[in-house]
Symmetry: C2
Subunit: 733 residues, 2 copies
Amino acid sequence: MKNKWIIFSMVLGCIAPLNAQTWIWYPGDYEIWLGNQMNNRRTERGAFFPPFWKTDSHYVVIEFSKQLDLAQDEEISLAVEGMYNIKLDGKLQFGMPDKFVVPAGKHKLNIKVWNQQTPPALYVAGKTVKSDSSWKVTYEDKEWIDESGKASDTSTTVYMDAGSWNFNTPAARPSLFRLAREPRQVVAYESVKNGTLYDFGKETFGYLDLAGITGKGRIHIYYGESKEEALDIDACETLDRLDVSGDGRITDLALSDTTLLEENTYILKSSKAFRYVYVVCDPDVGVDKVAMQYEYMPEKYRGTFECSDPQLNEIWKVGAYTMHLTTREFFIDGIKRDRWVWSGDAIQSYLMNYYLFFDTETVKRTIWLLRGKDPVTAHVNTIMDYTFFWFLSVYDYYMYTADRRFVAQIYPSMCSLMQYVLGRTDDDGMVEGMAGDWVFVDWADGYLDKKGQLSFEQVLFCKSLETMALCAGLLNKEQDQLFYAKLASDLRAKLEPAFWNDMKQAFVHNRIGGKQSDEVTRYSNMFAVFYDYLSSEKKQQIKKSVLMNDTILKITTPYMRFYELEALCALGEQKMVMEEMKNYWGGMLDEGATSFWEKYNPSEKGVEHLAMYGRPYGKSLCHAWGASPIYLLGKYYLGVKPVKPGYEEFSITPVLGGLKWMKGTVPVPGGSIEVYMDSRQVKVKADRGCGYVYLSSQKIPECVNGRVEKITAGKYRIWVETKEEVLIRYCSF
Amino acid sequence: MKNKWIIFSMVLGCIAPLNAQTWIWYPGDYEIWLGNQMNNRRTERGAFFPPFWKTDSHYVVIEFSKQLDLAQDEEISLAVEGMYNIKLDGKLQFGMPDKFVVPAGKHKLNIKVWNQQTPPALYVAGKTVKSDSSWKVTYEDKEWIDESGKASDTSTTVYMDAGSWNFNTPAARPSLFRLAREPRQVVAYESVKNGTLYDFGKETFGYLDLAGITGKGRIHIYYGESKEEALDIDACETLDRLDVSGDGRITDLALSDTTLLEENTYILKSSKAFRYVYVVCDPDVGVDKVAMQYEYMPEKYRGTFECSDPQLNEIWKVGAYTMHLTTREFFIDGIKRDRWVWSGDAIQSYLMNYYLFFDTETVKRTIWLLRGKDPVTAHVNTIMDYTFFWFLSVYDYYMYTADRRFVAQIYPSMCSLMQYVLGRTDDDGMVEGMAGDWVFVDWADGYLDKKGQLSFEQVLFCKSLETMALCAGLLNKEQDQLFYAKLASDLRAKLEPAFWNDMKQAFVHNRIGGKQSDEVTRYSNMFAVFYDYLSSEKKQQIKKSVLMNDTILKITTPYMRFYELEALCALGEQKMVMEEMKNYWGGMLDEGATSFWEKYNPSEKGVEHLAMYGRPYGKSLCHAWGASPIYLLGKYYLGVKPVKPGYEEFSITPVLGGLKWMKGTVPVPGGSIEVYMDSRQVKVKADRGCGYVYLSSQKIPECVNGRVEKITAGKYRIWVETKEEVLIRYCSF
């Protein structure tokens, strides 16, 4: 058995393959640049609205290099974004040739590219010489020449493996990347006052089309995720204004040079999120037809879920659609308002994505963008907790993908961010909100104290330090590993003494001046549960005293519900979580949701559901963190998760949680795992990897076409090999 | 007297005026961006040649803000480089208006600009509202909104005074800046082999014109600072190749899209340095006429010098021309080869500039560019000594200009660079070359050990720490001042014990493992002299044992001759220095120099003078550091220098040094100081500031139209008031 697993592990080494012959760049640079394009598309009632944190940019000069050993002379052709030179064995070549012959033998090829506007990028194609992520890149080659003409020893230059995506032809210049588009039609419209309200049937995203524009005057366009918002011309969050000049010219008044005319069809150049559009024209202006170009990231729905409960199926579908709408160039928070990348939102998108698209490139891009460049001048998105979620997301990614190359590329950025955090700890080695820090935790319907040492932040900080130690270990950086492991264990040892309160049988919310507060909130308690930071006994106490205690401040965002329900699942409460999912997400569906919301308080009524941030339509009705059932159903009902990085080894712990039957697919690197379960049987098939099915404690396998192992009393493990369907008939008691 | 000086000091407060109604940007950003354009114009035989250190770039999103208090409503008009929004009192305005009315009363105006390609820049013009350097800028406003719609407390945001130059109209967009051009003609030409050699009469810089191009084929253009270089088609440093296609199209083969056609005149788009141009056409191609567009920074020659010695006058003129050629968008090293900004070169350009153009804007721009952005990943230009020269240049600049605003803007960058240095000191608190550091010192014709603790580097390090303390004090940063002053005094106390050798009566060159080497070089000794780091006795010892000792390794670069001669002047050896200047710079003139060189070894012959870096024409024949007589004559012969910042108080110590007479002008902020001297009299006039003339010890004033003070035996001080010519008749003994 052991040997087989080793071979298997080698096969899996191909999970993150070198992309042969592709455009390459300095890792993170394209991602940051593309992220700026995306983050800066936010508008608020016609005003440009960039983020309030430092916007980084790419290195403008990059040297790409490769050691070659050619059997024969080889002509290479180059495509380059930027001005460049070519050095062969240290000798500069004339001009900027797009073809170049490298002679047979061992050679060092260096290509240096300058580009202020878009990231320096390179595509090299020859018979054997191909640009890919095995090329080295640096922003500083330090190759000075002394008076005698001798080059400096550049052995200290820091080289990185090049970054890449899927731009695999010379014409596919990275800076030209655009998402896909498809036309979509209005499903209903009606006259309202002096305008027309168009309904596209469900939440959507893209560019409005206006055809057959006549006359002279102004066209006002008001967008709404809800009918109320579209019709509220003074308060809707997004809008456009066009001037029709009578001579066929149309000007977009909000953001100039954002218009395009195509055969009497006018396509807006700025994208918006909406279901409804309210178009109001000046008396002399007419619009014949309104339609749209739906814009999306092409994704394969590799994860699936179906079960005996139609409502849950609908929840899964609307969750998947919510995820798809918010999976764009990056995983963004919501499509209407911010359209920004936020770390706390993103880590949940990653986790859901592992059970839906398994789009690893978008995970990496988002992690790069969030991190930005040194120097670190603020927390990620300026939010302390979001810094910690960023760390956690890196190791999550590694566990799901086994992509060690990425960890190696991002590790220096992890260190400098952690250095920033460590430079801001207090005398207890804990983090407290300092001037300029946003201590977020959650949007809560009640007062959350943000002062002093928050138990929630310390738990995340501790997990982040553990992540640093894990990544350092993975990269064989022993000194770093020891350093971070020590910090992590020191902090972990302080958590219970500092925050555990025996009276409350819970972690208290915070501590100020060494004194515990009276407040208990769910946040640190639920994280401590699924991080396994407490004894089983204490975890069970928390379940009762906090998680299932209605006097504790309720969570009203799907964001923290994600973790709350995960904690309950980790405690085996799938049945209760199922009811919660049906109530909470089902509640949104009952309110007419076609995608899941930023926040949902079941006790609110009507238009109260639309308000947030002191604005009547401030709330996002399509928010990535609303889609968490995708994750919960995949990980805690189908029960599939990686045990070794990249699903080299996996475990399946299927739990019906009250359903009659369920079936689903969980994507893994280069394949998938299929699970079916009803009250009598479990069927499992994996086309990559090896693993095992755990039956929960009240189930006994009766008939299995595979190896069964009894672990402890009433606990069984059934082995799963690649491509063999395992059928387990069981009885419950 | 005291009161008068205070008033006077207030007048001088206008030296660095707020530029009313001008384009503004984040300080340093435009400078770095423009510097990239310039540094990246270097070519080597047709190949693009960017620097080997990290190329930084501007912040791509900047918020500009201003607190307003208007007596009445005011319409402002905006010109912006980038996409932008406008916030009035926190409320975003629709679109990107180019006009906007600010209501009467107190208001906060915030304008946020995004620009990836060129620095975000803003021009605002109203009746009273004007963009200038009193506007605040930040790259990170941290203005997040909580759920209730409340904005975060942004009191911790770091704001800077905006940067600006002289772009004072809406149309003068900073990104469009170009140097001035003027047509220049060939002075001679001759046929050589199958081409034509054109001579422009002297070293020059610009763009070649080719008129009347006919036929089909290739035109080869070889540039030379010398005739030999232009004619050596295989080894000349710069060249161009053009393809004439017969249909009127001409392609620049070296760097595409760098060509321009104007009515049958073809102007090359890439500039070169040359005196000679050798043009070789394919048999079927003809060129009717060759000319050029001379490119230059418009500068007023505010400093002048004339004397009884025609050779010295010629040296001054050629030095001034050398300075003018190398004073471009920035102070660059030389015009042919690097065309880069180098810190060690630049600090000398600054000092010469204070006695020639007094172009303070180019000093500031160059300091910003050299510093770049955080994080610091290497020494300035990768060279340890160049890091230290950078620090020194900031305080020099302050002394000559009294521009405290600039010191405040750059101070955070000084701190982070010093932090980098302090992170690389050894157990003695001294700097040693570490992996990746270039320890330069000088291009020496002999072995210079670069290992261990170099006395030269410690002297510069010590002076840099003193500079930090001075700047911190200037900005009332008391803690910083104490911190750096302590480090400086600690290091200074170590210099003599570590490096002084009584046997050698000098600082030794270096110390390895705590052991002094046997070597004595001029570098640390001469710096210790004019930094006044040693007793008078030891300084006199050094003069004999090092400076005037022919067995000590000779200096053959004008770069270190600058300091060597300065040290001798500081020791009162103007007569000897005069002879040296005439021999050394006169020697270059005798060799036919029309601008001064990167290096000159009088013992070399013929084409030996052209070689460097292992290449026959590697040497730059127009190198800024070659112009040092400009500085020496101004500071040590005319003898003018600031005593208080910005010449609020100045001293004049005129020394003929063997000349029969001399007269000259030294520019000061907003005016100039004129000095005339012959064997019988000194005449001085200053139209700004107050100061005094010192007569050297062997001169006694006989008749003076001003106040004379005897300081010590044989030493006199004569007071100079604004705009009053002071005439001093003296006798020598």
